[in-house]
């Protein structure tokens, strides 16, 4: 395959990184980055954190306009790809310039995810928190004192809840699962955050689904009501894989890609929130929602494309969440099949069989970074090794 033109669909953190990395790898052909949102590509993590407090949208921008000129990257903003014509090697996009057909030799899908919309009556009363426009709307709504219900006790809902409490609003978090962040963290960490949020004055309603939203209250499945004049929907996301599906690619919990992040069409790759990739650590196909996965996957795709290699993706997942003054850091990837061991207050090792597969820490960056290094290696990591780096003297010496 001669590689003269690469198109990237989605100008979020992963899509932009793919463009950056292609140039860094020395690719001199055409790069077209197509994004549905207005403005320059920006980072999402601060949307549920500092942005709500400070409202500085400029601070989120990932690269200035001049970057696209100097790097000769065509950035089509407010332009949505509506179809992929694989036979012709073209995408069909619609934007301010009207409809266009653009040819590619390689196509990168970086379309991210959208809010999951559970079957809740009156969902139109709820606000989302996914884009800068969403966050700006929420921030404006927070200008007056509110009684807030957050539907979903995951990272985004909880980060928002912590911020809203800090700003003096009344906050209830409604979570259908029996514990907070249940898909992503150990029960010990869930419990720790439940106590923290309650201490901060947030009402937690666990194990109850919301069924109806009215302008002044949310109704629960058990018939209870939660008064609220502002409702945030943060019940998880859905990968944006409709384009891929319509183009006949294999789609299953996102665009299904192999170990090299290639889809069922060898000219099409997928990364980040929209991609379900073969995880070398477990042999399972997984989909991650993190800056780390989006950018590391972008780098791998760019390197393989430019060098003509087929290196498998194997970066260690890591993640963070800031809730008020508590920083949760996760090295590796655990699951509900793990055995969890609380090594000390705020440090949990998650094991599969004898091997540690993830380490969760609260406000302990030293232990996090050392665990990350250990877990990123090729050898299995034993509990002793984590205990050693988590020992008070190791932590104190840092």
């Amino acid at each position: 395959m001669t590689l003269a033109s690469v198109i990237i669909i989605g100008a979020g953190q992963g899509g932009l990184q793919a463009a950056i990395s292609l140039r860094q790898e020395g690719f001199s052909g055409a790069i077209t980055l197509i994004g549905a949102e207005p403005g320059l590509p920006y980072q999402r993590p601060p949307l549920s954190k500092a942005y709500l407090l400070e409202g500085k949208a400029e601070a989120l921008t990932l690269r200035p306009e001049s970057f696209f000129r100097t790097k000769d990257i065509t950035y089509l903003t407010e332009t949505r790809v509506e179809g992929i014509d694989r036979a012709a090697g073209q995408v069909i996009a619609y934007g301010p310039q009207g409809t266009m057909r653009l040819g590619y030799d390689a196509l990168v899908l970086a379309t991210g995810a959208r809010n999951l919309r559970p079957p809740i009556e009156g969902l139109e009363h709820a606000l989302d928190l996914r884009t800068l426009a969403d966050a700006a709307r929420l921030r404006a709504a927070l200008a007056t004192k509110r009684r807030i219900a957050v539907i979903g006790g995951g990272f985004i809902g909880l980060e928002f809840a912590a911020m809203a409490r800090k700003l003096g609003h009344g906050v209830s978090v409604i979570e259908a699962a029996p514990r907070l962040m249940a898909r992503a963290v150990s029960p010990a960490i869930s419990a720790h955050f439940a106590r923290l949020h309650q201490d901060w004055g947030t009402e937690l309603i666990l194990g109850h689904a919301a069924t109806r939203i009215a302008p002044d209250a949310v109704t629960l499945a058990n018939g209870g009501t939660v008064p609220a004049d502002l409702v945030l929907l943060a019940a998880g996301v859905r990968p944006n894989s409709d384009l891929a599906e319509a183009a006949g690619l294999v789609v299953e919990n996102g665009v299904r890609v192999d170990a090299t992040l290639r889809s069922s069409d060898p000219a099409i790759f997928a990364l980040g929130d929209c991609a379900c990739f073969l995880d070398p650590r477990t042999g399972a196909h997984i989909r991650l929602e993190s800056v780390q996965a989006a950018t590391d996957q972008a780098r791998l795709i760019a390197a393989n494309l430019v060098r003509g290699t087929s290196t498998a993706y194997g970066a260690l997942p890591w993640f963070w969440s800031d809730q008020a003054d508590i920083k949760l850091q996760i090295a590796g990837l655990g699951g509900n099949d793990c055995t969890d061991i609380l090594l000390q207050d705020g440090v949990v090792a998650r094991l599969r069989g004898p091997d540690v597969v993830a380490v969760e820490t609260l406000n302990k960056p030293g232990i996090h970074i050392r665990a990350r290094k250990l877990l990123a290696g090729n050898d299995p990591v034993a509990l002793d090794q984590i205990s050693a780096i988590a020992a008070p003297q190791a932590a104190g010496a840092a």
Binding site: Q43, P45, T61, R63, R299, W320, P365, H368, I369
Partner: protein, 107 residues
């Protein structure tokens, strides 16, 4: 405005006039200075904004903040006594003319 001078690993020198209050990391990204990645956006999570403060300036940029030392352990290039995470250096009037050197690798 405060002047910041970035010297890349290959010697490329970039001078930027930046507003006070911005971090050395943000200013680099906003001005397309190569050599700083800043993947976590300044959350002190990634150590991809590593820089070496020119020794003359080290006194003025202040101490490493809590947790910074730990995260520096994750930096991709050698860490020296002049190493800082540039997202943790806010620009102030006292830093007008600040010189930072950038490492070979951030990832």
């Amino acid at each position: 405005m405060v002047k910041v001078i970035y010297i890349a690993a290959d010697g490329t020198r970039t001078e930027i006039d930046a507003p006070e209050g911005e971090s050395v990391m943000r200013v680099a990204l906003a001005n397309d200075v190569e050599g700083i990645v800043g993947e976590c956006g300044g959350a002190m999570m990634c150590a991809t904004c590593h820089c070496y403060v020119e020794p003359d300036w080290a006194g003025r940029t202040g101490e490493r903040v809590s947790g910074e030392e730990d995260m520096l352990e994750g930096a991709a290039s050698e860490v020296t006594q002049y190493s800082r995470l540039s997202c943790q250096i806010p620009l102030t009037g006292a830093l007008d003319g600040l010189v930072v050197r950038l490492p070979e690798d951030q990832i």
